[in-house]
């Protein structure tokens, strides 16, 4: 087997991690670390010159952060695969990295083996992420799809306990006056609750509200 080793660049302001990863990745027979940088601007400068196949970029670097570096690399050198090294599992951060053009996102809480596997897969135009990260991404994609279709980001809408009570009573077929009596509140307050519910859920009438609640198991079982 005489394959050319995969050329990797690492950028991280954590000197200890940077040196360690350089050594450990360099120990892999199919990898060669061609350069490292301790900040964003030096990373860009070096990557432009060295043209690695894969760049590992820490998300929180000084000068230019990982996102900025990824965006620039994606625009100027789309053939370079960028893997972001992140410290926390934040869906928004992961999404931002993907939107910036990253091909992968590895948490520093992940194992070295996971990192190695990700580098190999990303190089082959595949993706690898933890089940937890995949779950966050699926949920975010579902939200975005809903928004794109003009639907609701339903899971992120927070209804109050009282609003849920009102929806349940609407589902029982009660009028506003009857609901007010049942909940010991004014009819106008019920109207206010219904107005808020329709506004939050972006619905138009009571029928749609009951349908919405039924689909999401928000109605109390009798």
């Amino acid at each position: 087997m005489n394959k050319t080793p995969l050329r990797i660049f690492i950028a991280d302001d954590n000197a200890l991690l940077l040196e360690g990863l350089e050594t450990m990745l360099g120990d892999q027979v199919d990898f060669i670390v061609i350069g490292t940088a301790p900040n964003g601007s030096k990373a860009l400068e070096q990557i432009k010159k060295l043209q690695p196949e894969v760049a590992l970029i820490d998300v929180g670097m000084p000068n230019k952060d990982g996102l900025e570096v990824t965006q620039i690399l994606h625009q100027e050198f789309p053939q370079i695969k960028v893997i972001i090294l992140g410290l926390i599992d934040l869906t928004d951060e992961i999404m931002a990295c993907i939107e910036a053009g990253a091909s992968g996102y590895v948490l520093k809480e992940a194992s070295f083996e996971h990192l190695v596997q990700t580098i190999r897969l990303v190089h082959q135009n595949e993706a690898f992420c933890s089940p937890r990260m995949a779950a966050s991404l699926f949920s975010r994609i579902a939200e975005l799809t809903g928004e794109a279709k003009g639907q609701l980001p339903s899971e992120s809408v927070k209804l109050t306990v009282r609003e849920l009570d009102v929806i349940n009573l609407i589902a029982e077929g009660l009028s506003n006056k009857e609901i007010a009596k049942r909940l010991f509140i004014e009819t106008q307050t019920v109207k206010n609750h219904i107005h808020n519910i329709l506004d939050k859920l972006q619905l138009h009438n009571r029928f749609e509200t009951v349908h919405y609640a039924r689909e999401r198991n928000l109605l109390k079982k009798k």
Binding site: N14, L16, G20, L21, T23, M24, K108, E109, S111, L115
Partner: protein, 119 residues
């Protein structure tokens, strides 16, 4: 010649593996064990003796209470506290002032550990 025993209690995992690899590459050092929880660390050191312990607390706190406890129980122990992003390493030893080193490299960590041997 006896090796220097290093106990690890570092997070995130990638950093912990990097430190482990660094120690294991040294012919005169050995990883005595690895624990995450501070309580487990106190208990582990009662059973497994170590010369040095490397801790990365979750918060950037240069003076965690665990240091006092460890040094009381093991007066010859050297405690290295690495801040989570390794911007700083604090070195604690019984009877010595705290040492603070910015942006430690692999060599810095090895030098601090090696220094233990001579004392």
């Amino acid at each position: 010649m006896p090796k220097i025993n290093v106990m690890l209690s570092s997070r995130p995992k990638l950093l912990s593996e990097v430190i482990r690899n660094l120690i294991e590459r040294q012919p005169d050092m050995k990883v005595a064990g690895e624990v995450i929880d501070p309580i487990e660390l106190i208990l582990a050191l009662r059973i497994t003796p170590a010369d040095v312990v490397i801790i990365t607390p979750l918060k950037a706190n240069g003076d965690p209470r665990i240091c006092g406890q460890l040094l009381r129980e093991h007066p010859r122990l050297k405690v290295l506290i690495l801040t989570p992003e390794s911007e700083m390493v604090y070195v604690y030893q019984s009877g010595f002032d705290r040492i603070r080193i910015e942006k430690p490299s692999e060599q810095t960590i090895l030098d601090i550990i090696m220094n233990t041997k001579e004392q």
